[in-house]
Symmetry: C2
Subunit: 312 residues, 2 copies
């Protein structure tokens, strides 16, 4: 997956991932009305409207961006119907040739993490194997430590998949825990916790069979664009770790900020924007027919801003 | 929820929560055969067998334990069918009068956490409100900080629900991050990270409208029974925080260990056992008819061990 992802970014000259985090408020009235006509005023209608909306976005960006990142919470909120819309979004995006990063942020003790690994590996049942979720990659939460990550590493050694572990997240509250100063070993200065987490994540990703042909690991890291100084530091600390960088646009970061997360060759990083792209149609507010066009224009603008900032 | 939970624990004199974390390997052959007969050799059959199994356990323990804790990963691994089995397990347990703690360990930025809050609050849609998940409580991961927790606190202020935030987890790998020494403020000694997280969690739980009539907060903490020394320390640091304590039995902790997590009155704590109770039938291996009886016997044994250790 890491080589496939990097090749696709290079081919398109576009390190942009579109976050598929729709809310019901983002759905054009006409599209929502079609869904309630079919399914009534129900969670099923809401969930189906998210899928319908995603399809328009996906169709509009599939030839210009390498990947999409559906945020499972936006679907999970509608229960079974929502989860169905999530799975169908994943399938639809893959069918359009996109790489799909499931933003699930799962994390639990080893035996439980093996169950969550179903997101990226088939489940053995009755002598068969069933691909249940089938994302190309997922995000994971590392707070529970190495043995909560090992089951995912075991999968990555066998399969063309990736994980992205949270290191320094884009939200203001990330400071509460991630920025706490951890005492140094061997008389060095104390460092923020996220740097220690970074070292752990880099270590997990350095295991045998986890590095791709271009020198980057299948174990990536989530690092928020809203903390550019942390980005520069993490890039130096984790030379073989690919970054998934949320926080562009709606959360406040710009192209100069995210440039710090790339390596000297302008690689090693995928920048996410969700609302800034998928809700772009609301700025013009011309209705359901313009969701795709506006998303495409916003994605192109973002691509051009970032490639310009990278001097590419 | 916190008062309801404490009242129920007292009425039953039983601070035990049964972890509903079944795997396909735990399902008696005959039960599994019935499911494959109805649904074929499919994930649907696997998921339904988990539900069927859970019903036997729930029926057998509903009058002796206050709560059950289904681990969503065990269901999520089977996709939509699995999620349906999870939701039906929650409903079934509630119908039998049990309090249900959804072990989902979710955590994300504020806008996303609001979506995850659907687990404990109804979703507004088309002018109606839909109860989608309806657990009594869920577990949450605090790594992303205060603003990732706020949306849950907003729900707790309005509703009879709880959350349990991870502080010190039961797995060996919890040391990797949670035990890192964080520099102290004002010239004090450095403390393990989990103590700082404990202080944050206690602070979140001290907000207006979050404390129950018995002095405990609706914001609980997860603290692993496998770290009894941490338990004693956390009990002292967090006098108003109710503990959800995993790690009993299969993970290695005993009654003397968990006693340290209770307050001086023998309250403030709920101890989880999963495999030790639900897979107890496999020790006798007499088959499908004995799942419930063995679970009940194991739960009673655990209850008696803990109440004896508490000197109750």
């Amino acid at each position: 997956m890491i080589d496939r992802l990097m090749a696709r970014i290079e081919a398109l000259n576009c390190p942009v991932v579109v976050g598929l985090d729709p809310t019901i408020e983002m759905i054009p009235e006409k599209m929502l009305a079609e869904c309630t006509k079919s399914f009534g005023e129900t969670p099923e209608a809401a969930a189906f409207s998210l899928l319908k909306f995603n399809r328009q976005v996906i169709d509009a960006v599939a030839d210009i961006v390498p990947a999409v990142k559906p945020q499972i919470a936006m679907y999970e909120r509608y229960g079974l119907d929502g989860i169905r819309a999530y799975i169908m979004t994943v399938e639809y995006a893959m069918g359009r040739g996109l790489i799909v990063i499931g933003d699930v942020k799962r994390g639990d003790i080893g035996s439980t993490a093996r169950a969550y690994a179903a997101h990226i590996c088939p489940q053995p049942l009755f002598g068969h194997k069933f691909e249940i979720w089938n994302e190309d990659a997922i995000t994971v939460n590392p707070y529970m430590g190495g043995d909560s990550i090992t089951p995912f590493l075991d999968v990555l050694k066998e399969r063309d998949k990736m994980i992205f572990a949270l290191v320094k997240t884009s939200n203001p509250g990330s400071a509460d825990i991630q920025d706490l100063t951890v005492e140094a070993e061997r008389g060095e200065e104390g460092v923020p916790l996220y740097e220690r987490v970074a070292a752990l994540v880099a270590g997990w990703g350095a295991g045998e069979g986890l590095t791709g042909e271009r020198g980057y690991s299948k174990v990536g890291a989530v690092a928020g664009a809203t903390h550019p100084e942390a980005g520069a530091r993490l890039r130096a600390l984790m030379p073989h770790t690919f970054f998934l960088v949320p926080g562009y646009g709606a959360q406040g970061a710009g192209a100069a900020d995210v440039a710090k997360f790339f390596d000297a060759d302008g690689r090693g990083c995928l920048v996410n924007s969700s609302r800034g792209i998928i809700a772009a149609w609301q700025k013009e507010n011309k209705g359901a027919g313009h969701v795709g066009r506006c998303a495409r224009e916003a994605a192109i603008r973002m691509r051009d801003e970032i490639t310009a900032a990278l001097g590419a």
